[in-house]
Symmetry: C2
Subunit: 133 residues, 2 copies
DNA sequence: CTACGCCCTCAAGCCACTTGAGGTTCAAGC
DNA sequence: GCTTGAACCTCAAGTGGCTTGAGGGCGTAG
């Protein structure tokens, strides 16, 4: 099949497939008249990549996952990739929740104390608040 | 003051200051012998930028915020920037929470059904699950 | 006058693509 | 056989918010 057909079958864009090939994530297929021709195994491989991207794994992580799939590593390896990923998702959620609390506090601080002052004096923009990255 | 002093005073790196100048976020200061010389007003401006970055505003948003500060717009404008930002933070949290639930479900699915099979057959990697961006 | 620290510019790298320019191949219809 | 149009090709640049590095200039203290 040609690249456009593969793209639809796996649910990714054509340039993305070429990009994955260029970085070595997807192997280079055969060519006919300069055009890429894919076998059905590519649908599987690319669908797996897309599935992992849907789960927000990075391409580096996906590269490791693909290697473990090809090695037919035990499933526990896959699980540990997922667990590590889950921890990083939870870390991000915690960071965002803390940010949410900070911003929400500033907004309500503005409502109660600013009383329509000018922007330069708004409590939201005062750097004195404790916010360290 | 020179760029290194400003950087310490405002808590940002020297290249970051030059970067902000290059994209027009910070105005170009006077020069002496080719070197940038800053007045104390730059500490204020840069600290404000840093404060907004700490709150995870984008540089585009910060540019709008700085404009409203210079215009001495009413504080309600600032608040509406913050509220919009808060909504986008909450949207991201919701996305991450849904992702967290998906990945957590896959991990426990693996624990209960995979029983140590090989990676290609692990439930975590099966694209059949409903996961659409 | 030398050594050192700070400053300068410009370019490239990060991530995961997308977009665009400019050209080639393929399949269908006449 | 010829034309048209879609799909394909490569290569380069853009996105965001910086960081890192190369290769050099300036200022001052000893």
């Amino acid at each position: 099949m040609r690249i456009g057909v593969l793209a639809k079958a796996a649910g990714v864009s054509v340039p993305t497939i070429r990009y994955y090939e260029s970085i070595g994530l997807l192997s280079a297929p055969a060519r006919q008249g300069g055009q890429r021709v894919y076998g059905s195994e590519y649908v599987k491989a690319l669908s797996l990549i897309r599935h992992c991207r849907d789960l927000d794994f990075s391409l580096d992580e996906i590269s490791d996952i693909l290697a473990s799939v090809q090695r037919r590593s035990p499933c526990s390896d896959t699980k540990s990739f997922a667990e590590q990923h889950l921890r990083s998702i939870r870390r991000k959620i915690a960071e965002l929740r803390s940010l949410e609390a900070t911003v929400a506090a500033l907004v309500s601080g503005c409502e109660t104390t600013c009383c329509g002052s000018a922007a330069p004096d708004c409590v939201i923009l005062q750097p004195s608040q404790a916010c360290c990255r």
